[in-house]
Structure formats: structure tokens, C-alpha cells
Subunit: 189 residues, 2 copies
DNA sequence: CCATTTGCCTAAACGACTTAGGCAAATTAG
DNA sequence: CTAATTTGCCTAAGTCGTTTAGGCAAATGG
């Protein structure tokens, strides 16, 4: 019986790909075992539980997304940075819907703190530097941007825009423009 | 053997309460059966499946939330209406976290169309009347508000604000103010 | 009061998760 | 190179939630 070459790493990547194909909720140790043509119990040498697997996929996705967002805003500022950041998020969600869902998994505080999640907040603050918002307005703005981008992406993914004949890309651009204007209007207050 | 008085209605309401206590994902026909001290199979005379139960809870929650939002904006306009609408959503999510999660269940298009979901969009449009936005800007604004409010609520519920010492209520008020200003700035374009 | 419908039951099967314990392949040490 | 150890995958078995089929008794209504 040749070995299958499993590891937490390999399973996490395969799980992420599976998530993109069938949805994050449908990722299951049983299905993963099928893909590797291996018995289910064998996976338990590599991941502690089904939940552990999902957390690993979430951490992978958070890191990938932060990398992508970081690359996007490198060398940009102001409106350019904001648009690139927004595009990084939306693009990732479109290309990797399952992984994007994974980033919404509720992590316990310690895990969240050790994840790429704080980096996401830092990247948002980096963009906001160009808008010169004093605290606590900067924190308010971090929350606004995080919420607005994520909320839009989720509504779009849920098909919430299907019954209105307005191009979601056009709405997205309008929203980015508007948020840019909002932040400029809020500068120094 | 006295009868337990089950019905789809009763199970849906009990399911909604259970969701608020343990989370929508944890709502299970088995757990509901336990609460009614009844065998699991008995529930299947009233709901078609576990998924059917969840859809019913989602529809109930969407309707409750639309009612609440509708009441909130009645007799108000402009910033007042926007703030009341926002407060209705956030208040519902805080008081009924499980039901709020239920409103995010992905419904198939026909079910969604027959649900209170379109009413939510209509309520948002009612608020926007006070801002005199031409199409397609009004549609963009519906999407912005829907996304921003929902995204904020979800980030807050996920504990995303726990590590920054800024009152979430203060951020919320700042965001509502800012969106009001944004919409006024966008009037007639 | 008898017939029908309705409500909850028992029984049984399925699928995902998880643990315990074993054998064989891979790795390391003498 | 072989022996000892570790590692990887296996079988077996139990748990839990879901779902269907078929039965009996309570409620309903002519």
C-alpha cells in the first residue's frame, strides 16, 4: 500500500480548492479522503478534527487575501490605493469564493490574533494615512471600509443583485468613488 | 400519549428562539425534538427536511426585520430615516443574533422573490427618496447601504472590533452620519 | 358512533465525525 | 546492512444528525 503523501499542509490546500468548487460549508474530511483515495480515519493523523481543518483553510485564505491586498496597495496612495484595495478583495472573492467564505469563519480570539486578520486592519490603516483622519475617526473609517466592502461582496455573492438590471461593477466603482469622497470630506475631523 | 401540538409554525418559532440561543448553524431537528420531548421522526410531518426548517426560520426573520425597519422609518425622512433604519437593523441583530444570521441564508431565487427580501430593498429606496438620487445612482446607493450596514453588523458580531478600544456605537453613529453626508453630496448625480 | 384524518411512534438505514488499536512502510542508529 | 523506531494508513466500532417507511391511537366530523 503506497502512501498518499498527506500532511496538514497538503490537506489544507486541497480543502481550499474543494471549498472553491463546492462551497466552504461543504468541505468535509470525508470528501477530502475520497479525493485522496484514502480512508477517512487517516486524515486524523494530520488534522485534529473537521473544525481544525476549516480553521486551517481560513488561516490560509486570510493570509492569501492579505498578501494580495498588500501587493495591490504597494506604491499607491489616496484614491488609487483605495480602489486597488477594493479590487483586491472583490477579485479574490470572485476567483476564490470558497476561500473567501472561509475568511468569515469565526476564530477564537487567540487564533484570530495570530492570524493575518490584524494585517488586514493594518492595510486599511495604511490606505487611510493618505486621508489624514485623526483618531478615533480613523478607526471608524477602518470599520466602515471593512464592513462596506465585505457586505457588498457578500450581498453580491448571495445573488442579491440579480433582480436589478444595473451592472454590479458599475455600482462597485460608484461606491469606491463615493467612499473616497467621504473620506476626503472627513479629513481632519 | 398526549399530543405535543406541533406545526410548521410552532417549530419555526421555536427554531428561531433556539437560533438566538445557540446560533443558527446549530439549529437542528434533533435538538428541536428534544425541546418538545418528542421523537425526531415526528417533526418530519411538519417540515420537509432540516433545510426546509432553516428556510422557514430565514423567512420568518426576514419578515420580522422588514417589519421592524418599516416601523422605524415610518414618518421620518432624510437623515432621521436613515438613522432609524440603521438602528432597526443593528438592534435586531443584537437582540436576535440567530435570527439575523438566518436572514443571510442563501435562498433559491423563487423563494427569495416571494420572501420579505424585496421589501428590504423597497424600504431602502423609500429612504433614498429623501436624497433625490437619479438612477442608476439610487441602485448603487441601495447596494452601498445594504452592504455597509450588513457588513458592519457581521464584523461586529464576529468580534472583529474587540481589539480596538473605540466604542462600536460611536463608530456606528459616525458611519451613519458619513453615509448621510455622502448621499446628500451625491444628490442629483 | 363509526370512518377518516392526523399526530406521534418504532424501526431502520445513511452519511459525516471521531477514537482506538494494528500492521507495514519509511527512517534512523548501530 | 540490519535492527529499532517512528510514521502513515488501515480496520473496527461508536456517536450523532438526517431521513423514510409503516403502524397505532387520538382527534375530527358526518
Amino acid at each position: 500500500m503506497a502512501r498518499a503523501g498527506l500532511s496538514a499542509e497538503v490537506l489544507t490546500r486541497a480543502g481550499a480548492e474543494l471549498a472553491d468548487r463546492v462551497g466552504f460549508e461543504q468541505v468535509t474530511v470525508t470528501e477530502l479522503a475520497r479525493r485522496f483515495d484514502v480512508k477517512v480515519a487517516s486524515l486524523y493523523s494530520h488534522v485534529k478534527s473537521s473544525q481544525d481543518l476549516k480553521v486551517r483553510i481560513a488561516l490560509l485564505s486570510l493570509a492569501e487575501l492579505a498578501d494580495r491586498a498588500g501587493d495591490a496597495i504597494a506604491g499607491r496612495a489616496g484614491r488609487d490605493a483605495l480602489a486597488a484595495f477594493a479590487e483586491a478583495y472583490r477579485g479574490y472573492a470572485r476567483e476564490h469564493p470558497g476561500r473567501y467564505q472561509a475568511t468569515r469563519l469565526r476564530l477564537d480570539p487567540e487564533t484570530a490574533a495570530a492570524s493575518a486578520a490584524p494585517r488586514h486592519a493594518q492595510l486599511t490603516r495604511a490606505i487611510l494615512r493618505g486621508y489624514h483622519l485623526p483618531e478615533p475617526a480613523q478607526t471608524h473609517a477602518v470599520r466602515l471600509l471593512g464592513g462596506a466592502f465585505h457586505g457588498y461582496i457578500e450581498l453580491e455573492a448571495a445573488g442579491g443583485f440579480a433582480h436589478t438590471p444595473v451592472d454590479p461593477q458599475e455600482s462597485w466603482d460608484w461606491i469606491v468613488d463615493s467612499l473616497d469622497a467621504l473620506l476626503r470630506a472627513r479629513a481632519d475631523n
